[in-house]
């Protein structure tokens, strides 16, 4: 991995994976021959449901993140080995807890420093409702790098194995495992607390959690081809966690906003790809394939958030996506509304990526020449961003500058790591050659 990730717009820089297999030794994309789709789906659901609760309960009891996380990971690996053969137990959470407790007792017997904790484990371990939340705040602590926050959340809160994380980020298992070891050491040695932040820090720390979950979502969403049920989906876990946070903080409008934003993206995920896994852009998508129920629900979330009276970037982004999702056709898109929302967003986050997206909306109101000049003003900031070149190329093409357009598209192609996006750009370049 090694690529750094510092801002909200660089989710795609984290890595470009394609979901995660349950194959411990498999770095390929091929479906696993050993586990069928059904049991994989069950395992994902159970791990997501149980891992964070277990890690959280053990951190609370043992006071040591490193040990708790390792114990639960061991228990998950035992389940991965045995459940496909023996079947998933009736109460998988209780099963994992029993294995984890036994491991914990083994650990403690080996380490004199924890003797006094033994008594705690001999009583039944009862997860507390806040365990998982505290764990999330620990994993998303601002003293950890963005990448580490994402990896730790996947591992400790969602129960991903090292192999699954490595697969999701196209990194080697040893690289991920080294990062995890260091992260766990930092939490313990630097004294990162395991608790819900104080009231005055809550907004900032909650925002940290949301950023991590949105990155996680984007990683899954952008890398997905819409049809890989055999892989564990980061986007799905991210939405699940945001929904969990929303249940705990129903009066935090940005949490609701992010949940709406993610649901709006997911509502349209099936229409993003053709049968061969090629990306279809918004104007060409078959809108009848969008999930109308999810779109309506997201609209309700946006209204609920707006009623709380504190607009924020996630709420505005959700409203922006809703403009597209609620339009019956590309032609019916409400561009003035979209432009107004971009202006509002820019007043909160003056980011060049947002200005780039605003330029696309501007194109439909003021034409390609004005939009192009807006885009070109961003060259200094966005030279290394593939969509800058892709969008610039599209405007140039409209204005009849096909040679410049092709150069821009080529530049975009060399900059993107995502295969589906690459193949779309490739098609465009071929089309350009054909036109000439």
């Amino acid at each position: 991995m090694g690529r750094s990730c510092a801002g909200p717009s660089c989710g795609r820089d984290l890595a470009c994976g394609r979901g995660v297999t349950f194959h411990a030794d498999d770095q390929q994309d091929a479906p696993s021959p050993r586990l069928d789709g059904e049991i994989q789906a069950t395992l994902s659901t159970v791990f997501r449901e149980e891992a964070g609760k277990l890690v959280g309960a053990l951190v609370r009891l043992l006071g040591n993140f490193e040990m708790a996380e390792e114990i639960v990971q061991d228990a998950l690996l035992v389940a991965l080995e045995r459940w496909p053969i023996e079947g998933v137990p009736q109460r998988p959470g209780a099963w994992l807890l029993t294995v984890a407790r036994r491991r914990a007792i083994d650990y403690i017997r080996r380490d004199a420093r924890y003797r006094d904790k033994l008594a705690l484990l001999e009583r039944p371990v009862v997860p507390e409702p806040d365990d998982r939340l505290r764990l999330m705040f620990t994993c998303c602590h601002p003293a950890l790098s963005r990448e580490t926050q994402v990896i730790l959340t996947l591992r400790a809160v969602c129960g991903f194995t090292t192999a699954q994380i490595a697969h999701a980020f196209l990194a080697s298992e040893s690289a991920i495992s080294k990062r995890l070891v260091r992260a766990r050491q930092k939490i313990v040695q630097a004294g990162i607390p395991y608790r819900v932040p104080r009231e005055e820090d809550l907004d900032e720390r909650l925002n940290e959690v949301l950023t991590v979950l949105y990155l996680m979502f984007n990683e899954g969403y952008l890398a997905s081809t819409g049809s890989v049920p055999t892989h564990r989906d980061l986007a799905e876990d991210a939405v699940w966690l945001v929904a969990f946070v929303a249940r705990l903080y129903p009066r935090e409008p940005e949490v609701l906003g992010l949940l709406a934003l993610m649901r709006l993206h997911l509502a349209r995920v099936d229409a993003r790809f053709d049968g061969e896994g090629k990306l279809i852009l918004l104007p060409n998508q078959d809108r009848s394939r969008w999930n109308q129920q999810m779109i309506t629900e997201a609209g309700r979330l946006i209204e609920q958030a707006a009623a709380l009276g504190h607009p924020g970037p996630y709420q505005i982004q959700a409203a922006l996506v809703a403009c597209h999702a609620e339009a019956v056709s590309w032609q019916a898109t409400d561009w003035p509304q979209i432009l107004a929302l971009y202006d509002l967003l820019l007043s909160m986050i003056p980011s060049p990526v947002i200005r780039l997206n605003r330029a696309v909306a501007l194109r439909y109101m003021a034409g390609p020449a004005i939009a192009l000049s807006e885009v070109e003003a961003l060259e200094h900031d966005l030279e290394a961003y593939h969509l800058f070149h892709a969008i610039r190329g599209a405007f140039l093409l409209e204005l009849g500058c096909s040679e410049q357009a092709q150069a821009a598209e080529m530049r975009a192609l060399t900059l993107t790591g995502n295969q589906a996006e690459q193949s779309l750009l490739h098609q465009r370049i071929l089309a350009l050659n054909y036109e000439r």
Binding site: A190, G191, I192, P193, P197, R198, D201
Partner: protein, 119 residues
């Protein structure tokens, strides 16, 4: 938990500091002293350090012989201007303390928080 706070500055910060009139420097020193007094309960010890050109490094040379060189071992344009040893509940409390420094002594832009190895 115990931490060592290192108060860091760049060479440019130092130059700017030296260019200040003595009165302004005195005011900043007073504010630093105030900050330390306010946080006496958490600060175990603290000191300012002289400038890097006054530092001497002792290296273990060939054959275990000490080798003395002029200047700091850690090169770079950043300078440690002072340190404080603190004892607080956890990193959040250390972060809060380090954050509150920003209002008091603009000369040091960065406070590094080093966890101390404890028994």
């Amino acid at each position: 938990m115990k931490y060592l706070l290192l108060f860091c500055a760049t060479q440019e910060d130092l130059a700017a500091w030296r260019a200040l009139p003595e009165e302004a420097r005195a005011q900043t020193r007073v504010r630093s002293a105030q900050w330390i007094a306010e946080h006496r309960a958490q600060i175990r010890s603290n000191n300012g350090l002289h400038l890097p050109h006054t530092v001497t490094s002792v290296h273990v040379g060939a054959g275990g012989q000490p080798l003395v060189t002029d200047g700091p071992f850690l090169e770079g344009t950043e300078v440690i201007g002072g340190y404080a040893e603190i004892e607080v509940a956890d990193l959040d409390e250390a972060l809060q303390l380090a954050g509150s420094w920003a209002d008091h002594a603009p000369g040091h832009r960065v406070v590094e928080i080093w966890p101390v190895v404890e028994g």
